[in-house]
């Protein structure tokens, strides 16, 4: 899905001239994907576990990925930010916290126009009577919206609140950045992603594009809104992972795309799985059969 969006950034400049910053972990799957599909060669992977340095270096899939060891809060200010359009995916495995907001604010204060910021955080609700308290501890009382309650943070409520808190941080930072810019020259953020993803564990991915008001026509040309998973407001795009066998996947693929997945000739597959597979089949990871034993 990200690739489909990032390809459209070509209106702002050749996509292979973008820099990609991510937290590769030992798999570097995002880096491999973006290098292969978008030909991005300026890659920076931030790794906090310096103790596993050799392992990270061994697992580097391509030569064009630079490893930086340390906390993202510490590494981001050391990177060059002028005149480089960046796609940055802050893929945390923790919930929203001040540390997350520090990175978000940094990117919004320093990224150049046409850059894309994506943030993934854990959105699993805390224990039912400690949600507000723990949110306050993590982001500070001033940043917790007043209308929230423990109950409202249940279900996908924590994801919604996390999106609001991240969006507020983006707006506040851009406000400071924009004070010295004249009308028509302001720096703006347009949300593109608001994924609610649950594969046993609720996660939120929120993000969008940072651009100069003067680039509005370029943004319009990108036509992001034509992609059905683009969500520019509080309404999320729910990604559910269907439970299917490989044989079932091949069976469904042969019949896709189709108008109404409920009509798919596969009555033995639960309708919910059919519908949700039809939504995301183009982005579903490909598997290979392996003979074992």
């Amino acid at each position: 899905m990200f690739c489909e969006v990032f390809r459209r950034l070509v209106e702002f400049g050749r996509v292979d001239t973008y820099r990609y910053i991510g937290f590769g972990s030992t798999f570097f799957s995002d880096f491999s994907l973006f290098h292969k599909s978008l030909k991005i060669t300026n890659n920076v992977s931030i790794e906090r576990e310096i103790g596993d340095k050799e392992r990270f270096e061994f697992n580097l899939p391509y030569s064009c990925i630079e490893l930086k060891f340390g906390e993202s809060n510490e590494i981001l200010p050391k990177l060059p930010w002028d005149d480089v359009r960046t796609i940055i995916w802050l893929d945390y495995d923790s919930p929203v916290s001040q540390s997350v907001l520090t990175d978000v604010a940094f990117v919004c204060a320093n990224a150049s126009g046409g850059s894309v910021l994506v943030v993934t955080v854990d959105a699993k609700p805390d224990h039912y009577d400690k949600r507000i308290q723990s949110l306050k501890e993590r982001v500070g009382e001033q940043k917790v919206p007043r209308d929230l309650s423990d109950a409202k943070l249940g279900g996908w409520g924590t994801a919604d609140a996390s999106r609001r808190i991240i969006s507020n941080e983006i707006e506040a930072t851009l406000n400071s950045r924009n004070g010295v810019r004249g009308p028509g020259n302001k720096f703006e953020y347009k949300q593109l992603f608001n994924f609610h993803y649950a594969d046993g564990h609720k996660m939120l991915t929120v993000g969008g594009i940072l651009y100069d008001e003067g680039q509005e026509d370029l943004l319009a040309k990108c036509g992001f809104e034509n992609l059905e998973f683009i969500k520019t407001g509080k309404e999320p795009y729910l990604i559910e992972v269907p439970s299917l066998t490989l044989k079932e996947i091949r069976h469904l693929d042969k019949r896709l795309p189709c108008c109404d997945p409920r009509d798919l000739d596969a009555s033995w597959i639960p309708e919910r799985d059919r519908v949700c597979y039809a939504k995301i089949y183009r982005y579903f990871p490909a598997f290979v059969d392996a003979e074992i034993g």
Partner: protein
């Protein structure tokens, strides 16, 4: 019946009173700062005659004694026209010819300082073509209805007054009791000397001879440690606003370890408005201390210098007493983002430098880099877009440690001590923890 709005009963009196200026306005400023305002005015005079900011052969002499206060300069003088129409107005009137890079922006400094100091003042000023003398007794002036001062002597259309005679002398007598008492204190005079020096180090550096009670103030250049491997960060920008522009320069780096001197220094048109700041105004403690920690003495080497320069002093983010920044101004909020960006790598470096102290190794590359770097004036320092520093020596990764503390009955602890054959509570804690971990947690 609706009253006619031209009716006098519709008019609300909002005229200012003289008392407000004489007694209230002066409360907003410290004595030393009020005196520095007078020095600012002299410097504005100098800027008018030396727009290139070369102040060689110019002087400002300040005398603060228990009997009188005097400030005397050869910085070009106040013309009769300026005095008549602008210099004594309360607030900055429109139409006042502007001085590029002015430091006396607000049109309150001189009057506020005079009222703060005493109740009688005499001003004598001579320019290339005019001369005036003005004597005023504030107590008498207060009781007059008019908002006017009067020249006692006035000469216009003079010819070729020699440059060394063009200047202004202000003398205040009948000093207020508390002011006279302060001027008697050696500590106060020392503090005033230090503050004038800090506020105007750039002007002194450019050749202005400033003295206090006959003692010349010397400039001390702003310095940062620098070497090939250790380089301060510099951010430069020109910000366009309201038809004018502001040149911004931000330096962040390290210097000698000196807690009272650590922090950010902010200058507007060369005038320091904030010194050694260690508060959130300059970013300390930002983002719940995650973005930048609060100031702590392990950051005693941190120095940041931010310079705002503009032909139009109204665009600069200073407050009216020039004792701080206008933290809400758009330009300061924008530049603060850059200050945070430049500051963070320096803070990370100082944390690593601090933890290097505890290493049991002879190799201390960070300490080494600091001790071999030389203090260099920021005016001619080699900089980099981000703070450049050597990497710490690689060390074997240590597991992250946590600390457990709890209380249990002494009787039970003593029993365990005997069984474990240990003598301290600490050992009891560690052994019992390991006992549990070995049995329940090891895979």
């Amino acid at each position: 019946m609706v009253a006619n709005q031209n009716d006098k009963s519709y008019i609300i009196d909002a005229r200012p009173t003289k008392d407000f200026f004489i007694y209230m306005l002066v409360k907003d400023i410290e004595l030393s700062r009020a005196i520095i305002d007078l020095v600012d005015n002299c410097i504005d005079g100098a800027l008018r005659i030396r727009p290139d900011r070369n102040f060689e052969d110019l002087y400002i002499r300040v005398e603060a004694t228990p009997n009188y206060f005097r400030i005397n300069d050869n910085c070009g003088g106040i013309s009769v026209d300026i005095a008549r129409l602008y210099a004594f107005r309360f607030g900055r009137p429109e139409g006042l010819p502007s001085i590029p890079h002015s430091v006396g922006q607000f049109g309150v400094g001189m009057k506020r300082a005079l009222f703060k100091l005493g109740s009688k003042f005499r001003i004598e000023s001579k320019t290339e073509t005019s001369r005036f003398v003005l004597n005023e007794d504030v107590n008498e002036w207060k009781n007059k209805e008019e908002w006017q001062f009067q020249f006692d002597e006035l000469e216009e259309d003079l010819e070729n007054v020699p440059p060394d005679q063009r200047g202004t002398t202000i003398k205040v007598t009948s000093l207020h009791k508390n002011i006279a008492a302060d001027f008697q204190l050696e500590n106060f005079i020392n503090r005033l000397r230090q503050e004038i020096r800090e506020a105007h180090q750039e002007t002194i550096e450019k050749g202005m001879a400033i003295s206090l009670n006959g003692v010349a103030l010397d400039a001390y250049p702003l310095e940062l440690l620098s070497s090939d491997e250790l380089q301060p960060a510099l951010y430069k920008d020109k910000i366009h606003q309201n038809g004018g522009s502001v040149d911004v320069k931000v330096y962040a780096g390290i210097a000698e370890s000196d807690p009272p001197k650590a922090g950010w220094y902010i200058y507007c048109n060369g005038r320091m408005v904030l010194g050694a700041d260690q508060t959130n105004i300059t970013g300390w403690g930002e983002g719940g201390e995650i973005t930048i920690p609060k100031y702590h003495n392990q950051f005693a080497r941190f120095r940041g210098y931010t310079f705002f320069d503009s032909d139009d002093a109204g665009l600069l983010p200073w407050n009216t007493t020039k004792t701080g920044v206008d933290a809400d101004s758009p330009i300061y909020r924008y530049v603060k983002l850059k200050m945070l960006k430049l500051m963070r790598p320096v803070i990370d470096f100082l944390n690593k430098l601090d933890s290097e102290k505890n290493l049991e190794t002879d190799e201390k590359p960070l300490q080494e880099s600091v001790s071999t770097a030389t203090a260099t004036s920021v005016a001619c320092i080699q900089t980099s877009s981000t703070f450049k520093a050597p990497k710490p020596s690689p060390r074997p990764p240590l597991p992250r440690l946590g600390r457990i503390m709890y209380n249990r009955p002494v009787e039970q602890i003593e029993k365990i001590k005997k069984i474990l054959k240990v003598t301290t509570y600490k050992a009891v804690g560690e052994e019992t923890f390991d006992y549990f971990y070995d049995r329940e947690c090891e895979e």
